[in-house]
Symmetry: C2
Subunit: 331 residues, 2 copies
């Protein structure tokens, strides 16, 4: 593999140590649970606790989005592995301010199982925890509830966290998260695999020069594999799925996320964004704000995803809500 690591079985701990050393005024690890990144601002008085999380290997997701105005805590699993129930529970105890908490994460079976146990443990302490699963990966299932969550996590986390910071109660925060998720659609394309530090090898095989449209962020199968095509054609293929999914029409407004899965350079993201902007322009769809960079990675996987987030005044206000989370960038 082409990565610089130490003991691969310590990589998550070392990453977390580096992270809290880098931003000591913003985040810390729980003293009794090194897999919970907590904002130094949390618990915030009279605010619903917002907890995100999942397996490692998607940085800056999830740890980078903990901060005032964004998530209160992130629960961190091993690479491509759900966190265990204990840190899910501990995160609630750390950030609950008496208003209950919300768990927000991508829809994967392991995460659902363990976060649900965490919520049950919290319920025994009398703390209400609600869950909203992100399901933006449109081609992962015909059935919306069965879809996986990928880069759209970013928008769902952002708006729900802002709503909590705005003083909404738990039901209100849940409603914002569901509304955001229902108006969010993503599709990706992979051009190769990430290197897994534990094996020292690519997570799967893909011939040089091939691409797989629709692949998930853990290498889940997409809709088709074939020779790499021109960027504009691939972007058009993605938009031909996600624009109808959101039933976008003239006059609608969206936020755009062109996300690098890791090894796709900003140069190529900007080329792709150019095509996205052109197509949206032609349709009379307005771009409220765009995010072009690596927001939800698969370590060093070559590839990208395009997310469209349909927005109204309420969602725009929450996407624009200020935050000091270290890896939230908004210009």
């Amino acid at each position: 593999m082409r990565r610089l690591v130490n003991d691969p079985y310590e990589i998550v701990e070392e990453m977390l140590e580096g992270y809290v050393r880098a931003f000591p005024d913003k985040v810390k690890l729980l003293e009794h649970d090194g897999r919970v990144v907590v904002g130094t601002h949390a618990p915030k008085k009279d605010k619903v606790g917002v907890i995100v999380g999942g397996g490692s290997g998607h940085e800056p997701l999830f740890l980078g989005y903990v901060g005032e105005g964004f998530a209160d805590a992130a629960v961190i699993g091993n690479i491509n592995t759900s966190p265990s129930p204990e840190p899910c529970y501990n995160s609630v105890k750390a950030v609950d301010a008496g208003k209950g908490c919300i768990y927000l994460y991508g829809n994967y079976a392991g995460d659902v199982m363990n976060f649900d146990i965490g919520a049950e443990m919290a319920a025994e302490d009398g703390i209400r925890v609600e869950t909203v699963l992100v399901t933006d990966d449109v081609i992962s299932s015909e059935n919306v509830e069965d879809r996986r969550g990928i880069a759209g996590d970013f928008f769902v986390f952002k708006t729900a966290a802002a709503a909590a910071d705005d003083g909404l109660d738990l039901d209100g925060v849940v409603e914002i998260a569901r509304k955001t998720n229902a108006n969010c659609a993503t599709m990706g394309v992979a051009l190769g695999a990430a290197d897994h530090p534990n094996t020292g090898k690519p997570m799967f095989e893909m011939d040089l020069g091939d691409m797989e449209v629709g692949m998930g962020i853990h290498g889940e199968p997409g809709v088709r594999r074939g020779k790499t095509e021109p960027a504009d054609d691939v972007v058009q293929e993605i938009l031909d799925v996600i624009i109808p999914e959101l039933k976008l029409a003239e006059g609608d407004e969206v936020c755009v996320l062109v996300n690098s899965l890791g090894a796709t350079p900003l140069m190529d993201l900007l080329v792709a964004y150019r095509k996205v902007a052109e197509v949206l322009d032609e349709k009379g769809v307005k771009v409220h704000k765009n995010f072009i960079g690596s927001y939800a990675s698969t370590m060093n996987m070559p590839g990208m995803s395009v997310t469209l987030q349909k927005v109204d005044d309420e969602l725009k206000r929450y996407i624009d809500w200020p935050t000091d989370a270290p890896y939230f960038v908004q210009k």
Copy 2:
């Protein structure tokens, strides 16, 4: 190659088109010269014009650092190729506000030649243009003046631009740029090559599992090639060069930039930062601020660099100076 492109000979134009479409309130291309990215704020009254630039393929360097409080313009060359003299000159005409301009770029022969011609053309119009070359790549030459500029560009651009925004005259801005450069040291490590879109192939050969310590951002030879070693050992080897270079002693203060060359994930940068922080702690060197991400890339090259920028109150103030440049992130 594992990249999504259209016509590779149009990639720079398409990237620039995507960029100005993405941030139309902040940047534009000159109408008569599509290789000059100008901030919509420029020219700013009574301010020295700050112009950065160089070859493409290092994004977000240079275009991402144009914005109010940062550079007024970026001059954009083809991939790994200096911009030609014409856009260097046109950038001056676009941003000069009667106080003269400064060119800031990494020390490469082609850039020096073409920017110098641009400055001569401007001089014929009675506009004074000064140049400060960035020379932070410490192992590229024994002789400081012969060293190349790499990720340290970021700090030199940032402080000089802030000094201009603070109202300093051209001599004052030059002095800040020189002072920053004199207190900046970088060393990188590559684990493979970027894919060049024009050839569709890696820019050079490197066996899987090898690394080259000290390699430059265009693949210039480093100090040694060998099997990839543990991250901590490589970081220590880098620090053993750049800490003595800056003569850092207990009580000194630095900014740290742990920079991905493209295909090195944030996970690995955070592991590396952990080691940097540990070593600086042991030496009693304080970290004022850190930057961990991809600030000066080589497209999709696997590898990273570590930059230490020694700072005093003046440089800290300029590094902290606010800016709305799209790819400047500071938390």
